[in-house]
């Protein structure tokens, strides 16, 4: 009579034979379609299954032989070697040897060693690297394991996965011990295992040979999801395997992690409705869910373990990050940034000189210096970046205190707090954001009773968000309050003489008036706001950062203020332009396009400068005129079309020279009153180019137009 072990071996032989037949078919198909990646994967998996199951039942000869074949197909899988006729032929004969090995093991006779060695020698000749002996393999495996551990510890990109593995009920009957799988998974990294036992029935309904266990794992590994799948590859039939990445190991993430309810909903252990209902009872969530039988305790335990595990991981990552950094006075960083700026200028001179000299050796040196300067510049700028979190967190307190003071209920939601921007910008953004948030609390969000009467939740929301948007950072401050009153703004602006009767303004154009000095539509002045000072300061501060502010508002629904500021204040990407002998830089982030202008043909009419760009009317400013630059203008000029605050305005120049790494130098106190210029830069030839303050020039142009209109009306 056969024992269970023999029965299991027989099952293995049957399965392995089936796999070998499948392997033969796949190999023949691969010969026809050598580029078919899916077939390669299928072959690899068949080999891996034979090897894995063989190891469980002690078929050592089959295991070591299949291991070599598997290695070859791993190379193919990783595109390290091509599928050739020879590889197919060798693998086909290896497959025949495997079949013989299986038959011989059943009968306990025969020796396949010689044939196997011959096949492996043939395989060795076509492999990209040397095929190792078994002893070497074992040594290398140990080394690889250690190496993997090192990679995992030092790669910096380990990912934490949540895994649920529910094996088929017959896994024990098939002779597979799940301990092997758990142990193999443990070798991939840091792993916690939680058995789920809610399916185990009492003995009167219990089948002792069925597997009722299933498992949750929390695994941190740098080896990727495929390495996890490979562990379960030979039991996947009839099993359920769910792998989800839950933490990317970003040290910038806050140490806090999801709440238990969120984890349970994500895992599908409870529905969102059940969670909501349980939470409404204001008791311990786990207790409620278990008491109500909504979820077995083991699953709550699993969620708790995951929560603690990831919190600890994040904490230790943060600690490691902190330990790996040093504190440097910011003054030193400023000096470093200044010196880099000087270097960029000098490098531009060198490049210019090398072109003029036409000396290939000098050109090569100049190129090398350019590359290094570029890298240095990016690194230094990166060092100066800090998360906006610091500014945002200060606003939490303001919302809390001020809403309490005004008897309002307000929740502050923050997203993108990890967004980084230059530290000097962070320092200067604080005040404008405080002003805007105070205004939202005071004028935007209605008192709870008023909100309720309007069918809104009693609790208002202010949403702060930050995100990178090209070379800028977009900061949005939104509220679900009453929105801006367009009519009141218009009336007030007319009263203050900011606009004329009959002026057609809507949307952002109209809402921009809230930034005008002295304009407040508040019916009463509170100690928080209402005097019309504050928002104009916001505008000035943002302008000083070379940023823009746009306002969107929906009556009765809320307001959103969008602030765009450049990532850095030290160096910007600029567009260098020339008028006669003078050079100017226009910030590239504001440039939309450049078009030609033939003087006289389509120049301004009635003193107005207007260009027709593919049917769109775009006003433009003649910089020659604006700065009083002499000399005859060229026949064909160029208009650089920019966009700021949602308005398109062109700048007429003689020539567009091209992109320029602009190291910004502040102008001295003498030039402080000049709004049109935001700074200067030194060009490669040592001359100075002024940097245009585009939004301010546009504003000046608008004011001039308003004044002219008023004059004409009079």
């Amino acid at each position: 009579m056969k024992g269970p072990e023999d029965r299991h071996k027989e099952i293995f032989r049957e399965e392995a034979n089936e796999l070998l037949s499948e392997l033969e078919g796949s190999l023949l198909e691969l010969e026809e379609n050598p580029e078919d990646g899916e077939l390669v994967e299928k072959i690899f998996r068949a080999m891996h299954t034979i090897k894995g199951s063989g190891a469980m039942f002690g078929f050592n000869e089959i295991v070591s032989f299949t291991h070599e074949l598997e290695t070859a197909f791993d190379h193919v899988r990783n595109k390290k070697m091509p599928v050739t006729k020879e590889l197919i032929e060798i693998t086909l004969s290896a497959r025949d040897i495997l079949r013989e090995m299986l038959e011989n093991s059943a009968e306990g006779v025969g020796d396949n060693e010689r044939a196997a060695q011959e096949t492996l020698s043939r395989l060795k000749r076509i492999l990209p690297g040397p095929l190792k002996t078994e002893a070497e393999n074992s040594r290398l495996k140990d080394e690889k394991e250690k190496e993997n551990e090192k990679i995992f510890r030092s790669s910096g990109d380990p990912v934490t996965y949540r895994i649920r593995f529910r094996p088929g009920r017959d896994i024990f009957k098939n002779g597979i011990n799940p301990s092997f799988l758990i142990n193999e998974l443990m070798t991939l990294g840091d792993c916690l295992v939680i058995a789920q036992i809610d399916s185990i029935p009492a003995m009167d309904e219990f089948d002792p040979e069925a597997c009722y266990f299933y498992w949750d794992f929390v695994l941190t590994t740098g080896q990727g999801v495929n390495a996890i799948k490979d562990v379960f590859i030979f039991v996947e039939e009839g099993s359920e395997l769910k792998i989800e990445a839950v933490d990317e190991g970003d040290p910038g993430k806050p140490a806090d992690y999801k709440r238990i309810g969120e984890i349970l909903v994500e895992k599908g252990d409870i529905s969102a409705e059940a969670l909501k209902e349980a939470l409404s009872k204001h008791k311990n969530l786990g207790q409620i869910l278990v008491e109500e039988g909504a979820v077995p305790h083991g699953r709550i335990a699993s969620a708790l373990v995951e929560q603690q595990y990831i919190r600890e991981k994040r904490k230790s990552l943060k600690e490691a990050e902190a330990a790996a950094s040093i504190r440097v006075p910011s003054r030193k960083l400023d000096i470093l940034a200044d010196l880099t700026g000087e270097l960029v200028t000098l490098q531009a001179r060198l490049s210019r000189f090398s072109i003029a000299e036409n000396n290939p050796e000098l050109a090569a040196i100049a190129e090398g210096v350019e590359r290094l300067t570029e890298e240095l510049r990016e690194t230094i700028m990166g060092v100066r970046l800090v998360p906006i979190e610091n500014v945002f967190s200060k606003l939490k307190r303001i919302v809390r205190d001020l809403s309490g003071e005004l008897g309002k209920e307000i929740a502050l939601e923050i997203t993108g707090a990890e967004t980084e921007l230059d530290k000097s910008l962070i320092e200067k953004l604080g005040d404008p954001l405080v002003h805007i948030v105070r205004n939202s609390i005071d004028h935007g969000i209605e008192p709870p009773d008023e909100r309720e009467a309007r069918g809104k939740p009693r609790r208002g929301t202010i949403h702060l968000s930050a995100a990178h948007s090209g070379a800028n950072v977009l900061i949005q401050i939104g509220d679900d309050g009453k929105g801006l009153d367009a009519e009141a703004i218009k009336a007030k602006a007319i009263e203050k003489g900011l606009i004329q009767h009959g002026t057609e303004l809507s949307g952002n154009g109209l809402y921009q008036l809230i930034f005008a000095s002295g304009l407040s539509t508040a019916k009463e002045v509170t100690k928080v706001s209402g005097r019309g000072v504050g928002m104009d300061v916001v505008r000035k501060n943002i302008d000083a950062l070379r940023g823009t502010v746009e306002v969107e508002s929906w009556k009765g629904e809320g307001t959103c203020i969008n602030i765009r500021v450049p990532l850095t204040l030290a160096i910007i990407e600029g567009l260098l332009v020339r008028i006669n002998e003078e050079h100017f830089v226009i910030p590239l982030s504001m440039v939309e396009e450049c078009v030609e202008l033939i003087r006289g043909a389509n120049e301004g009419q009635n003193g107005k400068h207007i260009a027709n760009v593919r049917g769109d009317i775009v006003p433009y400013i003649d910089l020659r005129e604006l700065f009083g630059i002499g000399g005859p203008p060229p026949e064909i000029g160029q208009i650089v079309i920019t966009e700021a605050d949602g308005k398109k305005v062109g700048f007429l120049v003689d020539q567009v020279i091209g992109e320029n790494q602009t190291v910004i130098k502040a102008l001295g106190g003498t030039f402080k009153q000049i709004d049109w210029i935001s700074g200067a830069t030194i060009l490669g030839d040592g001359s100075v180019a002024l940097i245009l303050a585009v939004p301010q020039i546009i504003k000046w142009m608008e004011n001039r137009e308003t004044e002219r209109a008023a004059f004409r009306a009079e």
Binding site: S179, Q196, P208, H297, L304
Partner: protein, 120 residues
């Protein structure tokens, strides 16, 4: 050959196992446990002399424990000798995995993992 001894005279009655306790003998093990449970109200499993145990045996113990609780009886384990404890930890078992809150205090499995405080 399965080695065991059932001493039903005492209270609790003691069921002593020795040698390897695994899937190969699982049907016999189930029958022994069921018979023993039917003969007494309180039963103590003694695994001091037991050899390696596998997951099939662990879930059998869990099932027997559930059977005992269901029929108002008691089943407990005298201690957790080395190989037994190792198998419990390897399987990811512990009192925290217990199915129901009311059974947890009587759970068969030791505290293998300190559970954190719950953050809702």
């Amino acid at each position: 050959m399965l080695e065991y001894r059932f001493e039903k005279s005492g209270n609790p009655a003691v069921l002593r196992f020795s040698g390897e306790l695994s899937i190969d003998k699982i049907v016999d093990l189930r029958n022994i446990l069921l018979d023993s449970l039917n003969q007494t109200e309180n039963i103590l499993i003694d695994l001091e002399k037991a050899g390696p145990v596998d997951m099939a045996f662990l879930q059998l113990l869990c099932s027997a424990h559930r059977m005992a609780l269901k029929s108002g009886k008691s089943l407990s384990v005298s201690s957790y000798p080395g190989p037994f404890m190792e198998a419990i930890k390897e399987a990811g078992l512990g009192s925290f995995t217990c199915k129901d809150a009311q059974w947890r205090s009587k759970c068969l499995w030791p505290d293998t993992l300190a559970l954190p405080g719950e953050n809702l």
